[in-house]
Symmetry: C2
Subunit: 873 residues, 2 copies
């Protein structure tokens, strides 16, 4: 019979696929002899079985869980639901990767009207027993049955106000009995059933709730954001309770072995005396720093530090630990590799290499490449910051400079972001419902909660700026305003804050781009030692090209020549070219455009100073450039034509499916004079730039949207003829190469023929993805969400390369092409060029380079190094 | 050294690739010992070499041609350009396949101011000599130099009128000397050079003109129409002249061994006494029937019949022959397998099988499948014809019933056809410039020319109706009117004519569809013996389905369910469905649509009476159904919504690239209620139809636009669930199958995964072509012509399957799919399913069926048989 349940002592850290991260680490810690409350784990396979089995938990699974529970009773000498000495358990989800979107924890399960009495008499602490029962009802109702926690808070608040109390601790045990009764009545009123008294029923409902939480909206969203497959499932951990709420020698906390925001080597964390775990994480009470424990309970602290060191040394990584102190005895409830900011990740990796704890390869592999993004975006402009008022300070929970308009709900923030605004999400505290809002915001500011609150953890995971626990901030949720530092801030007003310092400013502070220095520079240097892929950039302007070189780009892999036409003095010329009545008129317009192009290319060659520059010929359908409304009138006047005529001409150029229409090489074939103009500009600029930089520029000309070798032959003949003419006129000989984009499936299929004419292939994975899927990037938004919800797509194929389908074509084209022309240079441009999993793929199949946007160059350098290291392992 | 030139005696009929059809057959006839004037052929390779060599004829080629000419001089005992006994030659093009678009013939080359005197004295016939010279100048100027023939006709007409002559034969030899001088002066005036006197110069200019004519507009158009590759090239045939214009014992003619219009076994042809070849073909003089030759020159006729028999028996096919009689001696100038109408092709094939001349396989292979189209379209409705006035009669040059609006130039006809009109092209006589106009017209009517005139030959080749030589028809080209049978007919008026009888009617006669009977029935029965492919039809209506069964369809391979929604009572319901505000509203609208669908499907099942019926779920983007203008107002009123709101909703549904947008299975995934409705209608109709027809219907449900197996899993689950519900409700169990279209490249690439869920694959080659090429069918028109002219595409990939690219994907998908599911049923739907070369391809790669429009079913049956026979050879 299949084994669905593992006792902690039966598992180990390598079993995370089966036991989830939490379960595997609890098993590992148990076997290390650390103080872990006994328990067992129901496997992730049981969760997937539940879904396959149409949402029914198999008897097998429940039987095995019951047997494990019996063993737990024996070990603890307690009985589940017992009136005298009841066993209480926690039930917690735990996937392979930590997932904030899922159900987290139910504590004190096993309490009912009978066993609560047993707990009271056994501990001699009826107040504690009824407080635990009250918490259990509240948590169970919320997490398992979907009754909002806040509803119970209202009930509690009402009783407190009737009694004239301000704080929870003023409630007596009698009061708590009343609270419990009122809670149960509220439960029945809302759900039409009694609160379940059978602990076994409580347990199976809780298990099912954990399973179900794998597929709730937030979990799906989080998985998509983090590329977690939907078929992993979650495990369920059932563990006997220890209590942090048994009085002043009890407590609970969360700590990191190093600082997760900065990487500083120093124990970092928070704890609350006389509390249960969710009080810390939820951010309701602001906890004390972990250093305070040294004063409150020095022996416990010493023990804690000892165990934390054992764990870090055992796992060779910074640990994020949960612990509980029950009557002066320390228990660990969880350890895992801690989430950290990119800044901290770099610092910790460098430290650990220095400490000899890990190798350079390990250090490189340990940094999630895409998080570098956090370091590469802007910091506040010092001068501009001086002009803005500082209105407050909170905890520096996640670094980064954020400026935007204030919104008070995730929903409002999303709406505003959709219309193109930069937004700041301001919340009393965040909850999993806010994840999407946090993701689209520039940053999140909360009034409650500490450095390990939900907001802080999630923001660091996302690499988003966050300031937490800004206690002196007053929010009026109804009026949609906040007051901070005496300033009234309305929804839509600008604020700025720095997640590295915690300072908050009134107004919109300008930001400046980041530099590569310090640890990042060190890691980049290491990465460059290991990577074999060349990293180029997609750049159309001198500014972008400069930025990319600062970030380490080794050339331009894609210069989209059409982007140069959108400037206000250029667009009228390209419009005249498009609306020309004949070749002569078109050539007249092209004369002006040639000069613009010449200047553009010369600038790029000069910045790249001898590095390769790949220029793509005009690609988009011409009507993208066409004028609308007033522009039509102006253009008609300038061209001496009737408005109606120009309008009609524009209409004529309309296309039903422009993505598959008159664009790419098709333009060069029907209007060779455009390609000729571009060839002249490219080669004239190369000749002149060669003089400026003192070495020969070798332009690479890329022909887009090829589907047949004859297209390439045709355009190539046009280009070569023009280039040779220019060189003959100037009496100069320059090397140049002509290659092609592989972006239609047909080009990939017939790449052997195409390679006979092309000196390089650059895979245009945006278009290739569109055509391979038959999926328009501009229209997919209408149904992609349904695809995620229904588990059809795990991720956006335009963000993460579809290795199975599109990848197959790339692989085919690369190998066919190389067979025909062994020296064929192969690269990838398009969005995927800066995405780590896609980079790993193209490294595996032997491409020579990737080209990505300037800000992704460092990510690509790191990802390429990781790919090389993994490949050679 | 490469051999560029072959004497006739060095070649044979199998060398048509190298020598062209004309050259190979001249060689074959020479070796058969038939009376062929000596000559030689410059190869097709020389032509392609000329293009590769940038339009310069290699010295090698000219040297070899000169050597062959020397041998010709020796054989004939004449000298090229000689003043006493000059050798004259004809220069004619000749590709592998006969191509009316190319330069055809120059006669009398070698004449100049000196040699004309030699010819005069040698023949003792100065009138003949100068008439020949005059013809030569005219032909050379037209064909080689591009001076319009009509210009010379004007010159000639002017001289005739000055002299007071009516007919050419009234011109004396002195008059002809004057004509020659005037022609030469006209030549110089227009071309700024003297008419070339050096025969070698004349020859090399003529050779180059033949080469060039391979790539003129008309030749390109003709090649595209007939799938002839552009890299075949044309050969050049140079042959010593024999003269049909030496007096009343001379003549020239064209004849077929059997009737090319009907297939009747009887020599069929025409000849002109005292004329050169171009007089017959050009249709300027109306020639006598060949039977007349028996009376005029009985011995020559007997000889002619003897040789015609030899040729037909030698080639085992009906021959099309050109001959010249010089002073009572018969020469053959050409033979080839004669072009024929589909009706004649069937008749001849059946006759020859009966005669034991060919086998059934050969008979099947001999009929060009796509020409059956001619037999399958309509004939005049007898009743309606009685109501229309017969206004004239011409020669029944190419069968078929044609009715449409009259246009007098190919240009006007094309314009009118573009706007959707049926047109009849009416011309004095046609020339190669008219080919495109003839192609788009319903039929062509000419005033001059016989059964072998240009119009007749081309129309038969195209399978277009044609009536020729309608002499009593007066055309006013300027006023754009014609008069026939006393009726004044203006441009745009309707006429009708029957190409099988030659009768012409005033007005627009209704047509009725054809039947499969007689020879066609016989050939279809033979074809069915040999073919292994199943032939299904694409049909959405009972009418189409019935027609297809009459034509032999073995099931429906594609029922496009969306086509059923366009009726006037249905479209409002589908609009309500699309514009529903929520699932409930959508389901309400679907209730009505379900009843429509139920009736549709039931009707189709009943017609198909147990044959398979494949129904595709709703496929097109929903906005295709949306209302415009007034319809919006009506719909808004009916739905109780504001006009603006409905407008806004319609706008919201706009897509940038609808072909790759929210359509196909994506609709079923986002709106499962639509797929559910269709599933209910399909299965309810199947249950009820099973009772009516007395056997179980097994519906095949086809899910469109799959790109990932998970899409199919999702939609399949929706369908199966709904179908099982309906069957449970009705207490009936029916077999059904669920399969998918393979129409995105990704589906083809991942077909092994998809085959795990699909019971059949139907290749949707329209979409697959669009996406593989990245080419929108609706937009390609903007540049496809440039692609043909620049030799990038040889044919329209939407008409003829791209075997190299798209075919590779089909092959991959078929083999991967079969590996996973050996019983996987494989077929093709879409335009290519009725195209012979595509059918051959899918037969080769082992598909099970093709599905095509009803009228293409007989074509597909024949093409499938041909494919099988070729495969097993």
């Amino acid at each position: 019979m299949k084994k669905w349940v593992y006792l902690f002592e039966e598992g180990n850290a390598n079993m995370r696929e089966l036991l989830g991260g939490k379960g595997a680490n609890l098993a590992e810690m148990t076997n290390l002899g650390l103080p872990i409350p006994h328990g067992f784990t129901i496997t992730t396979e049981a969760c997937m079985d539940y879904f396959i089995n149409n949402g029914v938990i198999r008897d097998d699974i429940l039987d095995q869980a019951n047997k494990a529970l019996k063993l737990l009773e024996e070990k603890q000498g307690k009985k589940f639901g017992d009136i005298d000495n009841p066993l209480l358990v926690s039930v917690r989800s735990g996937a392979r990767a930590s997932m904030p979107g899922m159900m987290d924890t139910i504590l004190n399960l096993g309490l009912n009207d009978q066993s609560v009495k047993g707990l009271a008499s056994k501990t001699g602490n009826p107040r504690f027993a009824y407080d635990s029962y009250r918490r259990f009802i509240q948590m169970f109702s919320d997490v398992v049955m979907g009754l909002a926690k806040s509803e119970f808070e209202h009930v509690l608040a009402k009783i407190k106000s009737e009694k004239g109390y301000t704080y929870d601790y003023e409630l007596t045990s009698e009061d708590l009995v009343e609270v419990v009764n009122t809670y149960k009545a509220f439960y029945k009123e809302n759900l039409n059933v009694e609160f379940p008294q059978d602990p076994n029923e409580q347990l199976s409902l809780a298990i099912e709730a954990v399973f179900k939480s794998w597929n709730n909206e937030r979990a799906i969203y989080y998985r998509k954001l983090n590329d977690i497959p939907s078929d992993w499932g979650t495990a369920v951990n059932i563990q006997s309770m220890v209590f942090g709420n048994m009085g002043d020698t009890s407590g609970t906390g969360v700590a990191f072995t190093r600082n997760p925001a900065t990487g500083e080597k120093n124990i970092f964390g928070e704890y609350l005396i006389n509390a249960q775990g969710e009080d810390v994480v939820a951010g309701i009470r602001t906890p004390s720093p972990i250093s305070r424990l040294e004063i409150d309970m020095p022996l416990v602290y010493k023990d804690f530090i000892r165990i934390a060191d054992i764990l870090e040394n055992h796992y060779h990584d910074m640990q994020d630990m949960e612990f509980t102190i029950e009557n002066g005895k320390l228990y660990f409830l969880q350890t895992r590799n801690g989430k950290r900011t990119a800044q901290a990740a770099l610092e910790i990796a460098c430290q650990m290499v220095d400490e000899g704890m890990i190798t350079k390869e390990e250090a490189i592999l340990r940094i999630e490449a895409k998080t570098l993004d956090q370091l590469l975006h802007s910091k506040f402009d010092e001068e501009d910051m001086k002009t803005k008022a500082c209105i407050g300070k909170g905890l520096p929970a996640s670094p980064g400079a954020a400026a935007g308009r204030v919104y008070f709900t995730a929903m409002d923030a999303k709406e505003a972001a959709k219309s193109g605004q930069r937004v700041i999400l301001v919340r009393l505290e965040t909850s999993p419902e806010d994840i999407e809002g946090m993701h689209i915001a520039q940053g999140t500011l909360t009034c409650h909660g500490g450095m390990t609150s939900h907001a802080a953890v999630v923001a660091r995971g996302m690499g988003k700026a966050c300031v937490c626990g800004c206690n002196n901030c007053d929010i009026d949720e109804v009026g949609k305003t906040m007051t901070l530092g005496g300033k009234l801030i309305r929804q839509g007003d600008y604020i700025s804050f720095d997640g590295s310092t915690g300072y908050i400013y009134y107004g919109d502070i300008k930001t400046n781009p980041a530099q590569i220095d310090g640890n990042l520079e060190k890691i980049m240097a290491w990465a460059d030692e290991y990577r074999t892929l060349q990293i180029r950039t997609n750049a159309d302007t001198v500014k972008d090209a400069k930025r990319a070189r600062e970030f380490g780009a080794e050339g331009i892999g894609l210069c989209r020549s059409e982007h140069m036409f959108f400037g206000s003095e250029r667009i009228p010329e390209i419009r005249k070219m498009i609306l020309a009545r004949n070749t002569r008129q078109r050539e007249e317009a092209l004369v002006k455009l040639e000069e613009f192009q010449y200047e553009d290319y010369k600038g790029l060659y000069e910045v790249m100073a001898g590095l390769p520059v790949t220029i793509r010929l005009l690609d988009p359908p011409l009507h993208e450039f066409l004028p609308k409304a007033d522009d039509i009138r102006d253009l008609a006047a300038e061209m001496g034509r009737e408005i109606e005529e120009v309008e009609a001409h524009c209409t004529e150029l309309h296309e039903f499916n422009p993505m598959m229409g008159h664009r790419g090489c098709r333009l060069a074939i029907t209007y060779p004079e455009i390609a000729q103009m571009q060839a002249r500009a490219i080669i004239r600029a190369a000749i002149d730039a060669s003089k400026t930089i003192g070495q020969n520029v070798k332009p690479e000309i890329m022909v887009p949207l090829i589907g047949d070798v004859k297209e390439l032959q045709n355009v190539k003949a046009t280009l070569v003829n023009e280039i040779e003419n220019v060189m003959a006129q100037k009496g100069v000989k320059l090397d140049y190469s002509i290659g092609t984009m592989i972006e239609t499936p047909r080009a990939a299929l017939l790449s052997d023929e195409i390679a006979q004419e092309a000196e390089f292939f650059s895979f245009g994975t945006n278009d290739l993805t569109q055509m391979t899927f038959g999926l328009s990037r501009d229209d997919a938004g209408k149904f992609l969400n349904d695809y995620y919800h229904k588990h059809i797509y795990e991720s956006d194929p335009f963000a993460k390369l579809d290795q199975n389908g599109v990848g197959k074509l790339i692989q085919l084209a690369a190998s066919q092409g190389k067979k025909v022309r062994p020296e064929l240079h192969l690269g990838i441009c398009g969005e995927h060029g800066g995405e780590p999993s896609s980079i790993e793929f193209v490294n595996q199949i032997g491409l020579d380079y990737v080209s990505c946007s300037p800000y992704r160059v460092p990510i690509a350098r790191l990802a390429a190094a990781q790919a090389s290291i993994k490949l050679n392992k």
